[in-house]
Structures are given as structure tokens and as C-alpha cells.
Amino acid sequence: MGDLVLHLDNINKSFGGLSALSDVNLHVEEGTTHAIIGPNGAGKSTLLNVCIGRLKPDTGKVTFAGEVLTGREPHEITQLGVARVFQTPEIFQEMTLLENVMIPAFSHRDGAFRLNANKLLSKQGEIRDEAEHILEDVGLKDMMLTEAGSLSRGDKRRLELGMCLILRPRLLLLDEPTAGMARHDTNQTIELLKKIKSRGMTKVIIEHDMHVVFSLADKVSVLARGQIIAGGDPQSVREDPKVKEAYLGGAH
């Protein structure tokens, strides 16, 4: 396995008096899929929000590939190669699927800002080709001229994943990518995530569904009441008595 690429050191975060994360340390190896599991309210989403710059931790810092992410703007973090799939798909509802994917393609090519007001969209063939290619990868090419708002929940997730993939991220953060999906859709999404695994990007995935976790993850960390209580390869985590206790005697 490769080197450690993502470091979360001594992260503390509390909302009012409530401590959401206390002293979280997490290190992710390059090229692996690292799952974070835990009962409801364990602080999983807070952890991702801290990574992507949506929340500032009270103490501690997040480092990715030698760059400190803490304190940077979301767009700067994305420019460093970190992309995120949200729990509720964040897409451009009123636009076509093609436009949905072309927008991040422009962001990726042009950086944080470039005044492209004198060029015509219809002349941007290479961006369009790239977008069509990605839509084919996520299985939505047939619908590329329909409006994104009319998609099913599963398709919206796939679209959002495509919007992240076109950024060619080095680190992909996935927040419950299969929540609310039917089993068939879930399996399709697992296949898709397995397919992109071969591209060598690092993935951190938050997931409820153990079926998904054990099909995808190389490493698993268990978060309960804001603390990492166990970590390791999926098999050993499954056997860990502390994990069983957290799930049975915890929030459930």
C-alpha cells in the first residue's frame, strides 16, 4: 500500500456545549477506500464537513498531500484535488445533465476564475466530449439533454458522482452514497464505485449500509460519540467487541 495522504490530527469540534468530535485522529493511505462507520449522531458528517472546509474545527488540523486544508475556502480545497458527494445530491436542478457536468469541467480547466465571456459554448467541443465521456461512465449518457431535476434519486447521485469525477480528484469524499436507494440501485452504485477504484484515487466514504462497506472498503474506522473507537481492515473491525457494543448499546 501507498503512503499516508490524508491526515486529521487532534480534531475537536463542538456545537454549543455539545461535543461532536473529540480528539479525532485519522490517517488515510493513498489509493485506498477508507470507510467511516458509526451509529447515528456519531459525528460522521461533521468529520467530512471539517475535511472539505464547510466547518472549521475548534482545534486540530487537516492535511492533504502536504497541504493544510484547515482554514481554506471550499473552492481552494477543491482546487487542491478534493471532491465531495453530498448526502442530499447538490446538482443544478434546472439545467441539463450535460450542462451539469460541463460546469465542473470548466472549473477544472480554468481554475478558480477565468473570464470566458467572449467564447461561445458551442465552440467548446473538447469540454463537451469530456462531459459526454463522464456521463457514459456513470450510465447517464442517454439522458444528457434532460433536466437534472427530473431524475430519480439514484440517478441524481450518479450525476453528482460524475460531476466530481470530471474534476479528476485525488481524494473523493462520499457521504452515504447509497442512502435511500433500492437494493438494485445500491448494487449499481457499488459496481460504479468499484470501477472508479481502479483509477487510483483515494476515497473516504461514510456509510450506514454494511453491505456497501464490506464490498468496497480496504480500511474501516468506527466513530461513536465523536471518537474513533476502532480501526483496521473490515474483517477485524467486524469482530471487534467494542464495535458491537457501540452499535447495540449506543444510539440505536
Partner: protein
């Protein structure tokens, strides 16, 4: 949103039809009583104002309530250019656009820190501040309540340099290389700038920059997580839109070299919002339609009085006439605001996409109804071009 499928041929057609419709306004507005230069100039000038406003509001969804400030600054800059440099319209227009752009950069930089209603209130506050400053502290520049006017004693440095004869008696008039900028020449000058402005707006709508602005309107959060810094995009859109307003303001001064602070009042900011929504925010020709409609109402409907109505309804028997004329009279003349208000309510409730959506629905109704698609498409295009 299918703009990528359309070949650019359609856009060329659109710009040609638009240009033809604008330049031919004196012809086709004649039967509607709208063919006099003063009104035609207003159509073109407020068309520019609304098209520019639409670049901000239509594309990014940020509702500015302070665009009248840029209109006013454009006017003041133009009149100062007439006073200090030359009566030629071109420097006046350039200075109007530049100063409005500069003010837009400052107001935009501060206001764009907030979104939604807070952004609207901030822009409104800045515009009201400019309006009040123009009456008080800035009186040396704005000439307060009297308004900024030309005087015989103005230096007009460039004009003095190039003219050899003695200055003529009376106030000079604004001109473009010898052509006086009032009446029809004034209209055509504004119309040409309107067509250029429309073309630039079309290019922005069709560019990657425009797509990014639409993305900000649709989901600003996702935009940030594509690695895009939304702040400079928004600021650029705000400045461009302010420059359009400055252009419109300077043209108001070109056609009538007088600038008053009332041009900056919040009602003027509200008017451009009405125009854009009435015609269809986010559409290309909608704002022009809205501007035309409102200016038409303001100038034509408001001039109807009872005698005009008596004439119009003279085919009715006298007893009916006595009822009809006073009732309709409520809606015309000084009551034209009532008609406009009702029209605005009807459009917002039934046609949230404005007049353009109305035309589109009619067009779709006919194309799905029969095989007359070809002729209908040409007609719809013409209507859209108005």
C-alpha cells in the same frame, strides 16, 4: 436551456431580426401612436438599462435594488464631459460607462458579501445614499436640486481647440460629428448602441462565463465545490450590468443634456426590476419587451383623456357611453399606474416567465395544434424581436 443544441445560425437570425425590429421602430410604432423621437429614444435607452440589469438578475438571480445609482452617475459623467471637454456624444458615453463601472465595482465589492434579501437591501442602501449625497454634500458636482446643466461659460476644452470661428449665441447642442443628437438622429444613435448591447448580452448568455453565472443562480454551494471562486464571477457580472446602466444614463444626457438626482431615486431602481420581470427575467429579449411596454404605458396611456375615449367608443349608444368612458377612464390618463399594476400582477401570477413565456406558450399551442409550424415560427421570431 437547450442552447448548446441550437446552431449559432439561430443566434445570427435573432440578432438580425432584433436589429431590424429596433431600427424599423419608427415605421411599425406609427399606428400605435408611438412614433415620436422622444419616446423612441426612451425605448432604446431603457432597453439598454433592462438588458444590462438582466445580465445580473436574469443570469445570477441576484436582485439589485440600486441600479438607478449607476444610471445617475452615467448621466452626471456625460454632462460633465459636455461641460469640460466637448459636445461630442462619444466621450460622454465612454465616461458614463467608465464611472458607472467604477461605482459598480465599489458597491458590488461591498454588497456581494451577502446574498438574497440582504444583498438587495445593501444595494438599495447604497443607491439611496448616492441619491441623498447628490442633494447635499456633492452639490458642487451635481448642482443639487436644480440639476446639472450646460452653460455658455463652460470651458469645453476640446471644442475650443478645434473650432476657429467665434462661439455661436445660445447653448450648444450635443452632436456626433456634426449631427445633432436630438430627434431621430438621437434615436438612431441610441438604437445602434442598443443593438451592440444586445449582441454583447447574447454572447455572454452563450459563453462559458454565462453558464457559470447560471450555475451560481442554480446552486451556489455546488459551484464552490467544483473549485470555482464565485465572488469574482459575481463581481464581474455586477460591474458589466452597472456599465450598461451607466451607458443608459449617459444616453439620457446625450438626448437631453441635463442630469438630476431624481434619476437615482429608488423608484427608478424599482422600474428596471419591473421591466425585467414583466418581459421575462433570464430571457434574451424579455427585458427589452418589458422596457418598451412600460415606457409605452407611461407615455401613451397616460396621455389618454376622456375626449380620446369618447372618440374611441363613439360607436356605442350614448347611454352606454356615459358608463363606459368614466370606468375605462380610471385605467388611462393619470390612472395608467393602475393598468400597469394589474398587468404586472396578472403576469407574475399566470406567467412567471414574463411576456416571453406567454409568446412561447402561444407558439407551442399552435405548433402542437397544426401543420402551420413554419409560418408560426417566423411570427414568433418577429414577436420575440420586438
Amino acid at each position: 436551456m437547450t442552447n448548446m443544441k441550437k446552431p449559432s445560425f439561430n443566434d445570427t437570425m435573432l440578432i438580425l431580426v432584433f436589429a431590424a425590429a429596433i431600427l424599423a421602430m419608427p415605421l411599425w410604432l406609427d399606428p400605435f401612436g408611438g412614433n415620436y423621437p422622444d419616446l423612441l429614444q426612451k425605448f432604446a435607452i431603457y432597453g439598454i438599462f433592462a438588458i444590462g440589469f438582466n445580465i445580473l438578475f436574469g443570469l445570477t438571480g441576484y436582485l439589485s435594488f440600486g441600479h438607478a445609482a449607476f444610471l445617475g452617475v452615467g448621466s452626471y459623467a456625460a454632462v460633465w464631459s459636455f461641460k469640460l471637454l466637448t459636445m461630442n456624444a462619444i466621450p460622454a458615453v465612454i465616461f458614463g460607462v467608465l464611472f458607472a463601472g467604477l461605482l459598480a465595482a465599489i458597491i458590488g465589492f461591498l454588497s456581494l458579501r451577502r446574498t438574497g434579501i440582504y444583498f438587495s437591501i445593501l444595494t438599495l442602501a447604497f443607491a439611496q445614499m448616492s441619491y441623498n449625497l447628490a442633494y447635499s454634500v456633492l452639490t458642487p458636482i451635481t448642482n443639487g436640486e436644480t440639476g446639472l446643466q450646460l452653460a455658455r461659460s463652460d470651458p469645453r476644452i476640446l471644442d475650443k481647440l478645434f473650432s476657429d470661428g467665434p462661439a455661436s449665441a445660445g447653448l450648444p447642442s450635443t452632436e456626433l460629428f456634426g449631427e445633432t443628437m436630438s430627434g431621430y438622429p438621437g434615436f438612431y444613435f441610441c438604437a445602434v448602441l442598443l443593438i451592440i448591447g444586445f449582441y454583447i448580452s447574447l454572447r455572454i448568455f452563450r459563453s462559458p462565463f454565462g453558464l457559470m453565472l447560471k450555475g451560481i443562480k442554480s446552486n451556489q454551494n455546488r459551484m464552490k465545490y467544483t473549485g470555482l471562486n464565485t465572488r469574482p464571477y459575481m463581481l464581474t457580472a455586477f460591474i458589466i450590468s452597472g456599465m450598461y446602466a451607466g451607458l443608459a444614463g449617459s444616453l439620457l444626457a446625450v438626448t437631453d443634456p441635463l442630469a438630476g438626482a431624481e434619476r437615482m431615486q429608488w423608484t427608478a431602481s424599482g422600474e428596471v426590476v419591473l421591466m425585467t420581470i414583466l418581459g421575462g427575467a433570464g430571457t434574451l429579449v424579455g427585458p427589452m419587451l418589458g422596457a418598451g411596454l412600460i415606457k409605452y404605458f407611461e407615455n401613451i396611456f397616460s396621455s389618454f383623456d376622456d375626449s380620446v375615449l369618447q372618440q374611441a367608443f363613439s360607436f356605442l349608444p350614448d347611454s352606454v357611453l356615459e358608463i363606459v368612458v368614466p370606468v375605462v377612464g380610471l385605467f388611462v390618463g393619470s390612472g395608467w399606474h393602475l393598468t400597469l399594476g394589474l398587468l404586472f400582477m396578472i403576469i407574475v401570477i399566470f406567467l412567471p416567465g414574463g411576456l416571453v413565456e406567454g409568446f412561447r406558450r402561444i407558439f407551442n399551442y399552435f405548433t402542437s395544434g397544426g401543420g402551420k409550424a413554419e409560418t408560426q415560427s417566423v411570427e414568433a421570431h418577429n414577436q420575440a424581436g420586438e
